[in-house]
């Protein structure tokens, strides 16, 4: 698989995913988020004060697991990557209209408001599991 294959597969599961992060204390955290691919990165619009943002500032790695369900035959699409926080007005302006939904409904202050940021995951590897892996798996790794 190449990254375009992963992106295409991930869209089968809808816009919601569970993002896992880990802070300095070694404790994992999971949060449901709406995500979108912008170019070759997975992006979520999140509260600046959220734990996932704090974790990424401490440990810049994240894993995205797109929602699993019967309609997609319990397949999984998992993306591991390097994570960063886009917290400047300029950066938010650049991403503001690219998420596929109206961010103003969640942040009336627009891209100038510091209360929301973008969490960006640059994929390093990904796996598609079919039927929890019973139906096989496909793997992508950056650089391969």
């Amino acid at each position: 698989m190449n990254l375009d294959d992963i992106k295409k597969d991930s869209r089968r599961y809808g816009p919601f995913a569970y993002i896992a992060t880990t802070g300095n204390d070694g404790e994992p955290h999971l949060a449901p988020v709406a995500v979108n691919w912008i170019d070759d990165e997975v992006v979520a619009f999140v509260l600046s004060s959220s734990r996932k943002v704090r974790n990424v500032r401490q440990n810049p790695r994240a894993t995205v697991h797109f929602s699993v369900g019967e309609s997609t035959n319990w397949d999984s699409c998992i993306v591991w990557g390097d994570a960063r926080i886009v917290d400047t007005t300029e950066g938010r302006r650049e991403l503001w209209d690219k998420m596929g939904y109206d961010l103003t409904a969640f942040e009336p202050g627009g891209p100038e408001a510091d209360t929301h940021v973008f969490l960006v995951v640059e994929p390093t590897r990904a796996t598609v599991l079919r039927s929890y892996g019973a139906g096989g798996r496909s793997v992508w790794k950056r650089g391969h």
């Binding site: 569970y18 896992a20 880990t22 070694g26 999971l30 949060a31 790695r61 894993t63 697991h65």
Partner: protein
């Protein structure tokens, strides 16, 4: 607002039989997999593969988090806990027939006595959050040591 662990359990069970489990690799990066957890009293059991990544992960870092699938209106439950792996025959026999709400034989036809690659992860909860409408409708918390 504080709640007891039974309320957490009830909220999780009402949401979905499915949850996402996060564990941590030795290098500090997180892993996520979907699981079908089942409660036994105040602990959570998950059927896992002996050689699975999550089993290996808890061997180096026993901290895990479970997030039940959120409902359409954004209700969710997250439970953090300490995980341990159990492969004793008596434990496997007990769990096989009385704890899980699905047929484990469908995934390990050898049953508890002849499925050496199947083990169980026990999660002892340490804290939990019950979120309504992604937290916009309120948040309820439970922490180990408070009323269960």
């Amino acid at each position: 607002m504080s709640i007891d662990l039974k309320s957490v359990r009830d909220a999780a069970s009402a949401l979905s039989p499915w949850a996402h489990l996060a564990s941590v690799r030795g290098d500090g990066s997180p892993d996520v997999v979907p699981v079908h957890p089942c409660w036994e009293g105040d602990v959570i059991w998950i059927m896992v593969g002996r050689d699975s990544v999550k089993t290996k992960n808890v061997g180096t870092n026993d901290r895990v988090a479970l997030h039940w699938q959120v409902s359409e209106n954004g209700d969710g439950v997250e439970v953090w806990g300490r995980a341990s792996i159990h492969d004793g025959l008596e434990t496997k026999r007990r769990l096989w027939s009385g704890v899980f709400d699905y047929d484990l034989n469908a995934f390990a036809p050898g049953g508890p006595d002849n499925s050496p690659d199947t083990v169980f992860m026990k999660v002892a909860p340490t804290k939990a959050l019950v979120l309504k409408a992604y937290g916009m409708g309120g948040t309820q918390r439970w922490v180990e040591g408070s009323a269960s």
